[in-house]
Symmetry: C2
Subunit: 176 residues, 2 copies
Amino acid sequence: MNEKDLFLIGDIPGFTPQIGRLVSMMNYARYTTLSAVAGLGVDELDYLPDPQSNSIGALLLHIAAAEVGYQAATFYARDLNEEERREWGAALDLGESARREIRGHELDYYLCRLEQVRAMTLAELGRREDRWLEEETSFGGGQRVNNYFKWFHVFGHELNHRGQIRWLRIRATRRS
Amino acid sequence: MNEKDLFLIGDIPGFTPQIGRLVSMMNYARYTTLSAVAGLGVDELDYLPDPQSNSIGALLLHIAAAEVGYQAATFYARDLNEEERREWGAALDLGESARREIRGHELDYYLCRLEQVRAMTLAELGRREDRWLEEETSFGGGQRVNNYFKWFHVFGHELNHRGQIRWLRIRATRRS
């Protein structure tokens, strides 16, 4: 990610024009997510303000897991397979299983997963043309959805949870 | 907003192609914000889980206020004027002044403000061409920023706070 161009949505070398704009937005969203968790320790990553909350760590893994789900859907036209489901299930579902299974990790663990997933996304997007963004499938109820929407949704989903992460960070760090 | 095309990022009548895609994303973000607050009463809109929190009502007005700020910046190349600052200051700043000043309103009050601001945005965007999105100004430190980024940021900011609104809604409605 080129920080100099962080506030420009536009062409990015290696991507077609529309995909470059999409990647610009994904890059910025990711930059702000990483800023929101910079320097956090295990206790803060595991912090739960109430028994129904998700931890910052779980939300980070949830962000990566959603991206894995949309990789499968858009690049390979399939759902998550059994192995992926085993690996990402708790992160995808959040709630009780995430509170039980996703804890005790250093920040690097989460950053590494986010990075690995993103590298795959960028490699696949770099192999595609703008017209691929317009390709449509349908949701239940016959609602049409295109690939552009699905990848917009990936970074929108990240921004939604970044909002929660910021809220949690203030409270998690105030305790110490 | 045409709900049939809610999951398509693409052309929208009345807008040039890139601006149409941007408006598609803004529309979807707004649709989900409205869904996140549907049916809430005054008590829930004013709910504060702790003394440092922002209420759902304040966050809704904050979303509208940020959009007003970016209207001034991108359509009129200026900061908020004194009158706008008086009208939107507490919503922009959040925190103590927002907790004191923004409360006691029905949901319709917030929806109406959001709607008024958005109508102005769409009217102005409809008068512009795609190349306007590429126009750049600079932030402090010489960092360049284009209009595309600024409007991406408006809906990204909304999604960030929608994440907080969803979190608050669960806790505000659980009490009753």
